[in-house]
Amino acid sequence: MSEQLQRRLHPDADLLSAFAEGVLPEHERMRCVEHLAECTRCREIVFQAQGPGAEVHPDAETLSAFAEGALPEAEQAQCIAHLAECARCREIVFLAHPEKPASAVVIPIRRPWFVRASVWSAAAVAALVVLGVWLAPREQKKATEPSAAIHQPAQVEQPERPAAAREPAVPKTARTYTPAPVAPAPEIAGLPEAAPLAPQAPVQPPAVVARVEITEYPEAAPQGSRLTGAVTDASGAFVPGAAVSLAQRDGQTRANARTDASGRFVLDGLPHGVYDLRIEMPGFKTSSQVVDLRAAELAVAPRLDVGSVTETVDVTAATPMLQAESSQVVTRGPRPLPSKLPVQMTAISGKVTLAVDSAGTLFRSTNAGRKWKKVKPRWSGKVDNIEPRESPISAFELTTESGSVWLSRDGEHWFPAPAEP
């Protein structure tokens, strides 16, 4: 039943915007709340007006110019005013330009009572500056990649990459992998003492093969063939953000892409031929395989192995392990489930993490697995599958072993899914 349309006036844009900005006196604010409680239209307006899509942020060029002190005074002041309120843009500026702005100069303060020791204080300050300059490049090495990631637009050959400025390493609705505990490889234990590595030699993680299912469209369109695939790990969870590169063996065709939130990638415009497909993702071994695009349909499913405990995982700022807004991926490992059983699968949406143990019991955490709470089941039987959903109605979808499907907005309260039309 649609809402009753009442012939009364609505608050105007000025009142609604003042309400949303919190500048109304209490009696006016309550009137607005009372109206908004009853009026879908005005609620829709204020939510649209205040939603993340309507927010106006300085572009990357402006932020970069601000950090470098290259903006005119009026724009500089506007930028500062925006940064004072916007954590997102502050994060961008600090990630992109961790060093001090060029206009900042360390000036030793001369106090009257230090005049005699001014020479010594100047020397001490100079020593500190030298120390800072010596230490800065070590931080800049890790900062150059995020600078490139933020300021360069998405590459044409990476159509699935979201907007660079706000791009998390793992999108909100991604499923995460839960690596099984790995015992040290026996051959490592028996190795003789290795020679020390050269200090400049980068340590590459051993290759981990991701499971890739590739389908090729057999129609040879004038613009070339399309190669699509989905990268998953051993538990079946999709691996978003994996770097996919394709190189033709007897040709010069090269193509790159990144897997999207559901672990999928698309490469278009490929001439028929034999290619080397390489998939890389920090924390995993790199996958290399041969793809023959002359075949009508090709499916590849190698096993995913996580890097062992002795391997170095290259963590850079380009792939932050913690998304500031949703705490989606954590640097500290989650704690075991209260049932002490291994985790079969997990699903994350926003700040809520759901996990199912091997007995099919569902647990919920709002602090990235540091504390788990069992979810009281409204269904009968074990949980067979959970997935995040991008829907205003529900954030999670759960399937029991009997096939019934349940939805939830917060992972705690569940309701049966409507039947398919």
Binding site: E3, L9, L24, R41
Partner: protein, 300 residues
């Protein structure tokens, strides 16, 4: 020069009203109009003192106010300033609201004409800028105006899908609830929802009817997400307890009341949207100020 004129002059300089093409007397008229419209932030009926008037004026976004009213009066200097500051952000906001570059550009372009006061022939030139009071930011006002146009256009051209008509599979293995229990449950729910405060009804409407996220609601209410989550939790728990108490007081046992709360909500004959959005009121609400567009007058 009396005290009010001195304040007006001081604020005229602070607002850089001259750059926006406003004369001093025009600026004074704007301040007095805005102040009287909202009774200088005081409760209706209270008379403001000079200090209260000054406090109200000093709390306004003076530069934005001067710019908006300079544009409303058609001053070219004001329009040049406005376009230099707000053209790109307005377009960006329109694209963000509509979710489409093309529709966003169209929405922004259509708003420019309206802001300039282009109306049908024979009518006086009116600009939405006249309704800007300076209490919130000008960009916030423009975003809300864009959202208003977008929502009204969508509601005129799109049909709503009635939720009640959705066919949803029944839960397996659950025995049907007795009609008498359903009736009591519906009445108790209606009573419980009607007794809610406006802010509580707003929370429930935004969460259950609109499907908004905690982040959206928190941003609008200017509180932390956790605060909204706690309020929602306490609210639903309180309603749960009230429902049980009402069912028990209607003659059901506590156990039967708790079982009744496990009823499939689709079996309960209650218009949730109607209860949340049109509660019985002892007196009609005071009307808001008219802004002047037909869509808003009709409540559409």
């Amino acid at each position: 020069m009396d005290a009010a004129e001195q304040i007006h002059d001081e604020l005229w300089c602070a607002a850089e009203a001259e750059r926006a093409g406003l004369r001093r007397e025009e600026w004074a008229a704007v301040l007095m109009t805005v102040g009287r419209k909202y009774n200088f932030g005081l409760l209706p009926g209270k008379l403001p003192t000079q200090d209260q008037m000054e406090t109200f004026w000093r709390g306004l976004q003076l530069k934005d106010l001067a710019l908006a009213h300079g544009c409303a009066l058609g001053r070219e200097a004001a329009w040049q300033l406005f376009l230099a500051r707000f053209k790109a952000p307005l377009t960006q906001a329109a694209i963000g609201i509509t979710g489409s570059a093309q529709r966003g550009q169209e929405l922004a372009d259509s708003l420019y004409g309206e802001l300039f006061g282009l109306t049908h022939s024979g009518e006086a030139r009116r600009s939405p800028f006249e309704y800007y009071s300076g209490r919130g930011s000008l960009i916030g006002f423009l975003r809300t105006t864009l959202a208003q146009r977008n929502v009204d256009a969508h509601r005129r051209t799109s049909r709503e899908t009635p939720l009640v008509n959705q066919e949803i599979a029944a839960m397996a293995g659950v025995p049907p609830t007795a009609p008498d229990v359903l009736r009591r449950l519906g009445q108790s729910l209606a009573t419980a929802l009607a007794a809610l405060e406006p802010e509580e009804r707003f929370l429930l409407s935004a969460w259950f009817l609109d499907g908004r996220t905690l982040a959206d609601i928190a941003r609008l209410l200017r509180v932390h997400e956790a605060t909204v989550s706690r309020r929602m939790q306490r609210l639903t728990q309180r309603i749960h307890v009230q429902l049980i108490e009402r069912l028990v007081s209607s003659g059901m046992s506590r156990r039967a009341a708790e079982e009744a709360l496990g009823t499939d909500p689709r079996d309960v004959d209650v218009n949730l949207r109607g209860l949340l959005q049109s509660p019985p009121q002892s007196s009609p609400p005071a009307p808001f100020q008219e802004q002047g567009t037909d869509g808003e007058k009709d409540g559409q």
